[in-house]
Symmetry: D2
Subunit: 370 residues, 4 copies
């Protein structure tokens, strides 16, 4: 269990890498949304392997088929199931992994938990399972944009110790997509690309940070006390493969400020109550405050490396293992659309929840005879 996400805009995913297919069903999508396979495919193409010379060479078209829930080009309000067939299986590349545990992979823990696992390509623990998330996220994103004018933009802020300079003003998706590394600062992007290639040539891997910003989000999203907006975002991000950390607004650095430095002063701007600074990162008390929502996600270096490593067999015998599968030396560029997708899913769900409770009735006791 654990393959469903969301309360009202609820998704359930399935599929193993090197199994028959991966997919997702969305339950709760509002009816009337114009939707086609192209809307989904566009996002899957940003996630798919083999899209540039700094990602894994595995060739997967990742073509999506919409199985249900859309008719005459619009959503019906019924479940939307979407399926992607796996194509480029090379199970032979994984024969050793059936018995030896790859370091920092989930082979060992899946065996411990379920008493069995699909060894090829990591099975369910492969990042291929995120295809369903991206497909569902594409639907949520379209609703948020079309219905609410909300824009979600994620980008690679740092790789290893290469950090882009602080941006001024909103980032556009075009800037992010300008290079295959998805860092909107071109000079930094070039250095990142070189570093990735260098590391790959050494058979090694690197990690980094993805930042996500949301523009145009209204106030009021987030359900205290447990389902605060940042709590559900943190869960969404830490549910992604290879993530090790999450921070919102001032985050870890904010712990070194005094309250008098950290507090965001309220002021009126153009008839609206706004904050002068945004250390909060767009949330106060777990609820969006109308400022840019801003958070950062830490991705560890890819566990698969093309170097011989010590490990043990299922029986606990020492052995050595040499990475062979096709892999990404750095997952960050392909993580960008996945972070956006999870963000869209969280926001969509919270929008619906807020709407249900707080925009249902306008009580007018005077006009009533109760």
């Amino acid at each position: 269990m654990g393959s469903s996400f969301g309360t009202l805009f609820r998704i359930s995913t399935w599929g193993e890498s090197h199994g028959g297919s991966v997919g997702v069903v969305i339950d709760g999508c509002p009816p009337g949304l114009p939707l086609s396979a192209e809307d989904i495919q566009a996002e899957l193409d940003r996630r798919k392997p083999g899209q540039s010379d700094i990602t894994t060479p595995r060739k997967e078209p990742d073509s999506v088929e919409i199985l249900s829930g859309v008719h005459d080009g619009k959503t019906l309000g019924t479940p939307i199931a979407m399926n992607v067939r796996n194509k480029d299986h090379r199970p032979s590349a994984y024969s050793e992994m059936k018995t030896a545990y790859r370091p920092s992979h989930a082979d060992f823990t899946y065996d411990q938990k379920y008493g069995r696992r699909m060894a090829e390509g990591g099975g369910r623990s492969s990042a291929r399972e995120t295809i369903g998330r991206v497909a569902a996220g594409a639907v949520a994103s379209k609703i948020l944009k079309l219905g609410g004018g909300v824009q979600i933009v994620a980008y690679v802020e740092s790789i290893e110790d290469i950090q882009m300079p602080a941006s001024e003003g909103p980032i556009q998706r075009e800037q992010v997509e300008a290079t295959p590394v998805r860092c909107p600062d071109l000079a930094t992007a070039e250095r990142m690309i070189s570093r990735i290639k260098e590391v790959r040539s050494e058979g090694d891997s690197i990690g980094g940070l993805v930042t996500c910003e949301v523009y145009g989000l209204p106030t009021g999203l987030g359900e205290p006390v447990f389902d605060r907006l940042e709590a559900d975002l943190a869960k969404a991000m830490l549910s992604l493969p290879a993530t090790k950390g999450f921070e919102v607004g001032s985050g870890f650095a904010g712990t070194r400020l005094k309250g008098s430095e950290h507090n965001d002063i309220f002021e009126a701007r153009e008839g609206e109550i706004r904050t002068r600074t945004n250390n909060a990162g767009g949330v106060l008390g777990g609820i969006s405050n109308g400022e840019t929502l801003r958070f950062r996600v830490a991705f560890k270096p890819t566990a698969t490396i093309i170097q011989e490593q010590d490990t043990v067999t299922q029986a606990g015998e020492p052995t050595k293992l040499m990475g062979k599968g096709r892999h990404d030396p750095c997952v960050l560029p392909r993580a960008v659309p996945i972070v956006e997708a999870m963000t869209a899913l969280v926001l969509m769900d919270h929008w619906m929840r807020d709407h249900a409770q707080n925009h249902l009735f306008d009580f007018n006791p005077e006009s009533s005879n109760s």
Copy 2:
């Protein structure tokens, strides 16, 4: 909505600061657990205000009453409701806050979301709501310890820029409780206490980091792909007031390592498969791997400061506000039992979920006629 947490060991909390009471009901607690109000009170006393000279002087006995679910000293398997009356109300201290928004507090967002709020002491957004969490967590902790031998220990690792040295080996709760600041390194604790007093004398506030470690956790807890153990922990921590970040294992620092440096090599130790290092922080692929579970939580400096600050009224008019309520200059010491409580709730829920799916039947098709 949003005041429930957990799937099988599920809690629902209620209550506003300065309202009648705060409390919690647990649904799903296993029957037969020896439980008394004293078990709960011991943890509430670690959380309560006025416990030392570095916390808020608000006087609240925080006496818990068990309303249901316990009979003859043992849990019945039925819902356990627990209630704590609010005593030390001083609503007059909050009269200005009814119309002016306190910077970096949730006054503004509650108004935006619900169209109303209880202004006194922050109402539902006050950290008083965590009383219910601590009460429920005390039950979960006792089960984990008694049934599974699991020990959860959180401590204050840093305050502002004062950081304790890396510990060697497990931390004992006695070390944590040795000083009111709950940093197990005595020399660091003294510096922290001085710093808190100094900041308080300036009417200012500071934040810091709480680290939590879990010893004795078995393998197999965590439900991929969304309800990974670290994902639910991240959500639990970011659902706490004043938190801005979460990291597990190597966390943000790990993004600067290469894969060959970061990977945790498997080896056999005393007949068990273990890892040589623990950059993972005890989870692989979202499932506990038998190593120490280790994560860190960032708390911002307390928003309430005793200094005059610019702000606006509900109508958007500029005004000034001077903090008056009794408050903690640094929430970290009292956050320790709260972090432990949330950790216990997550672990208990995951233990039950894993047990339900993976330890239900041992299929033996040969002996069956199906």
Copy 3:
């Protein structure tokens, strides 16, 4: 587990008969609803024991205390906890029941499931647990009436073989409340009262049928395919103590009609699409169709009788047991407000769910640049 109900307007109940208290917390109540303890008490008084000479003589004031979620006479949008203290304990009346199983009571199954139980008065399995349901239902009812003009009226249609004649037109609550048996037909009510007194004098008990009708319900409530409106109503009713059956519209009798007799023909009336007959009972395909929602609930005769019965002890030894606790010879009259409460909870939850998905955005792709 199992003590929570609803998705968005979600309640969690607690409490044992003869324990400290019984209560409920509602999570998800819309803010701004005028609400006082009197609103709740009025419904609890309709449910409470000792209200007439045909109910149990147990004396319980069942005074409700609102612990949270209401401020200045209006709901805050935060959890509303409500608690009722148990007063009239007579545990001595139950001493034999600690070891001997009362026939057709839950003593045996609670022991089997939990390995223990609170013997006094049935503990959690007592109908006293419905107090929390009635309290929460009172809130839901008030919202439905004030916000949506929806009226829920349940009544006793039959007791044993005494059946009221078919009513013409809507039933008013005043008619129902005119006699203590809560049958709106006065002549039938008198016969029912006599029968109940007669049966009580024999130390025996009887059951019957409660019918519930909902007037003014709009179209569109119900979430196919599993959470159909009638499915959630069926669950709600079968979750009540002593219920053995549920039918909606034509129900069991409808299975003897031909399709050509059973189908409800559509027609236009006063500018609205309506049906000529209402065999459907107000739902088509799981969704309300704008006609009167009508269903019926079967209650078995009370299990407690004042006659000596054979049974066994916990150890399986044959013994005899004589009913002693104060009890209702017929639960129907007091079941009426409980059926109404559960109906209100189901409708409220479905209203919120429908609102969230189907009244969120009005997509206008032309005006968008997506």
Copy 4:
């Protein structure tokens, strides 16, 4: 929303009649279960159209494809997605239904709720959506049988006014499958078949009752107070198309008995505590008591009839409509495997829930140092 069912053994279904496909994903299936497409297909074949001369002539092979979650012939513990393609589309048969509302169908309410619908064959409201339920139920049934020795047998007890005599002793599936009408009493079955053919020749339709019995169910399943076993069964049954009623044990007839007649006396039989009679139908206080679980479901006559009926258009204009689609004159025979599937899903989920809470730890406080 509303297309998911269950808490731990949780299914989500998708698909419209005459859309691309219908399917289901199961989250929470225990690992290690031997499972093949044949296991699923066997149950789908019992449900599929065109299986005999008393069902609809629509030709659908209903071939299932397992998309995920099974490897080397066994379940992995990961989500099991299963998909069935729709083949025999004849959208032209439904052209009139795009604008005119079929009486007692869900066309009108889907339009009211979602503002749109897929008119062909009823879209999502078609009984084709139950394919996913049957596929998932086949998995649950196999686990219950293999892991717990539980046997679920449903059968047609009555059609219109043709009622089979009371059975003595357990019904075997072979008896049920002996005739296409699935009534285990052969003489009654013949009369039912004749009646169905007769009604079909008149272009009319009939309904009836399905009874379901579960043998070998242990004590302890059911989660009071809301998720009683019979409450979840009632919901499951009323969530099926065309159902109008549910009763367990003595049901509606039991309301005419006195308590002294209705109570089931406990006795010891072969070392176990059993009841002499089974008016309870296998549940006491919402928990299984070890006796045969027995309940009955009322199905209305099929709404589609081949007769001209009055109705209105979407605009409310009077019109006439003549049924044209291929349909079942009586849904009962094909409902049998569907009722069994839903029963299996409820029992499986409850087994897991009971296991999680009540069979997790055996607390032994003496041996602990807590």
